[in-house]
Amino acid sequence: GDQSSGAGGTRDQIRAVGSSTVYPFATAAAELFVQSNPGMKSPIIESTGTGGGMKLFCAGVGAQHPDIEDASRRMKKSEFDQCQANGVKDIIEVQIGVDGLAFAESKEGPGLSLTPKIVYEALAANPYGEDANKAQTWKDVDASLPAIPISVFGPPSTSGTRDSLAELILEVGCRTDPAMAALKEKNEDEYKATCTRIREDGKYVDSGENDNLIVQKLGANPNAVGVFGFSFLEENKNTLKDVPINGIPATYDTVSTGQYPGARPLYIYVKKAHMQAVPGLQAYLNIFASNWGPGGVLARRGMVPAPDDVRKANAETVKSLTVLDGADLK
């Protein structure tokens, strides 16, 4: 508003807010930015969660508002409208890469191999809209699996990773039942409830944003399965191994090409109005574009590169600063 008091200070630093999943990549880019632009101050990257970040991002243009939103999901329609209402008219949307949603177990683990259907039937609160899930061991779900108790450490319901789990695995598994596929057309709400609600009887353990702890816990529970960002699997290859989904192992290639089912896009949103005013913003975006390919620095940090065509399209967006029109947001 009219307050100029706190808005003050020449903003010579880029400010980004948002998802903790994008945070490591945004910080890596920030570091590269400083190294290749000596004299520039390092961008400030705040890990607020996508939702909290959106609120800050959409509060307005000006020095007191962040320039960039890191998102582990697409902007929602409601958020876009909020942005518009607050004068954040021109928003640039860039997909910087893909986050693999990896299933993993300890190196000492039984070597499970799962499918979306199995995962759904093991974790859903009411599989296919029926009674509460009674499966106790993986064998109860699928006879080919060993009779070890189901125990999955996964993202909490506040997390964007959890949304991906629901969308990419659970819904897919759920729709293997034609009745459910039909339900999607008839009653979207009921479909969502049936297909994405996770049981709350302790078989699935909400495990916080601190994925490091999940890694540790898997080490301690060889029979448990963990669900987390692909980068953690990469980083902890010496203690963990991947759980193939549909027989496909989680590797860079399979995730990047989307063969491995658990992959979701990562975005950054940028205010066009800030491009002139904040020094280095363009250069920072360029850093993303020049490092998000295979073998690039971001990939070394564990981000999975987006497929070639996506990268190309987004590189173009970075160059031309194409504005998001918002019509296809949900």
């Binding site: 009219d2 969660g49 939702g51 909490p156 353990v205 944003e209 702890l213 205010k271």
Partner: protein, 464 residues
Amino acid sequence: MTGPAIILLLAGLGAIAWVSARARAVRLQTAARATGRRDAVHSLPGYHGWYVALWTLIPAAIFLAVWANVAPGLVTQSVLADPAAQALPADGFARSAILGEARAIASGLQAGAFNPASEALVAPYRTAISEYGIAGAVLALILAFAGGAYAFTRIRPDFRARTRVERLVMMALLLASLLAIVTTLGIVASLLWESFRFFSMVNPIDFLFGFKWSPQSAAMGYGNDDAFGAIPLFWGTIFIGAIIAMIVAIPLGLMSAVYLTQYASPAVRKWMKPLLEVLAGVPTVVYGYFAALTVAPALRDFAVAIGIRGASSESALAAGLVMGVMIIPFVSSMADDSIAAVPQSMRDGSLAMGATTSETIKRVLVPAALPGVVGGVLLAVSRAIGETMIVVMAAGLAANLTLNPFASVTTVTTQIVQLLTGDQEFDSAKTLAAFALGLVLFVVTLLLNIVALRVVKKYREAYE
């Protein structure tokens, strides 16, 4: 004229006022003393100095404070009258954003424009700001002179300058102490509004008495009805903070206090007491890290070893245990105080009857100190249930209603952090729930404290 310059100028004027007023008072008083009358002279010259200096500074400062709030409005009005302002968008928010930015650039706070539209307004802003700045400075100086002159003319040998200056000091002290109330109101205000919005989406009864905490449902659009039952959170909070932590802290704290006050030699006491206090000085984030990485895995291994099913490495026990250790010094220092407050004559009375020290402690000192100890424990509980970092790092997120200490439970503070830093839309019931939880936490600690302080106070009075 810029802010710092005018403040410097005023400070200079104040100093001059002080020196000249003091000099005048000295002169007048020396003359008056010669009359020999005891009440011919009232205040020391320095007080006259302060009196005049304050009259010089305070009205001008008040004016500047008001001006700083009024002037921007006036500046904006004059800018809006400028032809360049015709191009502004009608939309209120965008408009004020542009105006604000133009002002920031004009006053040198900002280097470049985020919004091209604001560039045109920079020049008009610059003129308006400098015009109003000069006007303000001139008015402030006039006020300073007027105030100073008025006060200066009042200097008489028997003028009660001290009384007046002291009245002002008292007022400053009073204002400082009112800040506590303002802060409390600030807390209430900041929690109440967002909580109100939350309760317009979720029935407070369901929230307070619901048995199911499952915000995943709400987040995914299944509706809010049974998603926000906070009982499991309350239980987790109580389980960790008021039960497990206290099972650790009360015996250890109480016995430590008893040992250190009643048995230990002065040398031991001198070293051990501060050592225990260090436990309270360790940052909670360190405890959290310690609990998450060292205690929790060890406890889990232990639980598995003795064959407990459902042992989680984010156990209530790990968080509660470490929190209990953190709370030990609280309990022990409160117990220490209460036991020390029991008059020595009670102890003598009991010993003179032929009681041993432990009999005296168990049958006389501790019962007599009990209200104080209970009050201390209540304070410790309120501290424990508000503790955040340990539980954020070491307790789980699973809202379980369980009695198994090796299972994972979640607490109110953990959920506040989770909800506020999650990936959900910010205005969803889910994020707002954090404020409602905060409100509950605030109210509960408030009540606990009021009760605890009452208890402690009543009991202190009993011996005074």
